[in-house]
Amino acid sequence: MSDVAGVGSELRLTRVAHVDAAKPLRHALAAFMEALEIGRELREDIIIAVGEALANAVEHAYDPEHPGSVELYARTSGHDTLLVDVYDRGRFVRRDEATPGRGLGLRIVRAIARTVSIDVNGGTHVRMEFSADRDGGGDQSLAM
């Protein structure tokens, strides 16, 4: 990210946790990262990881008849880190990890993020820290 683009940039969005909420949240995060000049492949990978956390919130957290909220909070930290939180206020569903085709989501998140922490008190709160060096050259620094 450019020197100035790191300073205090953030995105915070709350939606009802319907299955169709994940896509516009991904798109908002993608455009936010593009404005931060995070490189394309890095942006794509971050979207893959955050998309898994969003999918979990809209799939697992609530009774589909009574969905609560899903919240996305992304912000820069220093010049090469993007922190992204995905929260819901539902109930974390403990499941047998051995179910085939299950458990892929968090595995993908862990493969992409530098660190992942999951807090399941009063909902599920996934915090992901990504390396997010900026794209290209070095002539974007602020003259001030």
Partner: protein, 110 residues
């Protein structure tokens, strides 16, 4: 090896996420024995793990029916997401349609 051999194509497009799980589950159905299957994802920009799980289930269905399966991709993200999931060898992936069809028709002679 026959260049004329028939195969079935299932095309999916756009962003394959959780909101499309039912639609994609319905598209990825196999009734019994028959020709090889090409899943065409060449116009897919995003696929989440819900969809990968459907693809794994479909792979088992195809295997059970003795039908070879190839997956045509247009975007490197699909290969990457499989890698991240530890599934880099789960599917026969092709960027090139011709190569995918050669693979499928070769199957018939084996």
């Amino acid at each position: 090896m026959s260049e004329q051999s028939s195969y079935r194509v299932i095309s999916l497009r756009g962003e394959l996420d959780i909101s499309r799980k039912a639609e994609i589950g319905a598209a990825l159905q196999i009734a019994g024995p028959g020709p090889a299957v090409l899943v065409d994802l060449s116009d897919v920009q995003y696929a989440d793990s819900t969809i990968i799980a459907e693809m794994l289930r479909f792979r088992e269905d195809a295997r059970r029916c003795g039908r070879r399966l190839a997956v045509l991709i247009g975007d490197p993200r699909f290969r990457r997401v499989l890698q991240y999931a530890g599934l880099e060898s789960a599917f026969a992936l092709f960027e090139d349609r011709g190569a995918a069809l050669t693979y499928l028709s070769a199957a018939e002679t084996t």
